[in-house]
Symmetry: C2
Amino acid sequence: MDKKNQNDEALIQQKKFIDYLTNNDLKLTKARSEVFEIVAKMDNHFGAEDILQSSKNSVSRATLYRTLNELVESQVIRKTAFGDKHQHFEFVLEKKPHHHAFCLNCKTNIEFPDFGEEEIYNKILEKMGFEIYGHEMHFYGLCKNCTKEKI
Amino acid sequence: MDKKNQNDEALIQQKKFIDYLTNNDLKLTKARSEVFEIVAKMDNHFGAEDILQSSKNSVSRATLYRTLNELVESQVIRKTAFGDKHQHFEFVLEKKPHHHAFCLNCKTNIEFPDFGEEEIYNKILEKMGFEIYGHEMHFYGLCKNCTKEKI
DNA sequence: CTGGTTGCAAACGATTTGCACCCGC
DNA sequence: GCGGGTGCAAATCGTTTGCAACCAG
């Protein structure tokens, strides 16, 4: 993806967020802009703490969490899940589509790019010496009812 | 999978757990047996609260959580990944391999069986009227180093 | 102006831990 | 009997919420 496309992406995300705010009578405040800016700069996934770090506490925890939930509602980001405790987020429109290989023993989470085909992963992981016990796929999108509602 | 195989599975799980206990100088106590029994009866996935319900509080929360962690360490179960707050667990050797389709809008988590091929899911979900935005695969197993260590 | 927004601090829910007593081995 | 196991209650962690002051439209 070249610079231009990345920029387009960012604008789409921004539009989604602003539309959401408008549709829900929410204001585009300094705090919300700040959180959005920081989030937009993040890579694949991040947690609340990452944002807080980058913001150098210019936004309070309370507001940060509130804004993150708004970003989820506006479908700019989504909650993702790992084996650990705190929430992680990823972009609904992934910057770098990728998957995960989690070691049950040392708890490492290996991230690797998407190649579009399932079989290839087995080979890749095998080549990496990763012994696969199993895998699960998490699809996300809109279910039948919600697709209809979308207008 | 027939009755006999299911029983074999259960025994394998049990052996794994007992081996783990032995190797770590842990005792096979009443509480641990009880938790193991209940967990073994669970379907695909479950949370701490599910176990507590089934046990009718014969095991304390503290012990339950301690035992669940032991079951994770012994690789009988693993922490799984959902978008919500509390931990879920699944079996390392899945009883019914399956995947998930999560609706970003209504937060429904649709569970569907594993068919071994990736392309087929797109068709299935499409037929269900589910509009896929993306997906992530979570592989789990042992990484190179840990495979070696396994002896 | 005015209603949504913020930060603070307190509340929360799930999970973890310190401790004194209990029980497998 | 000893060393780990248990329940209890208190502590912790990430996240959420009530409230009074604050600011965007």
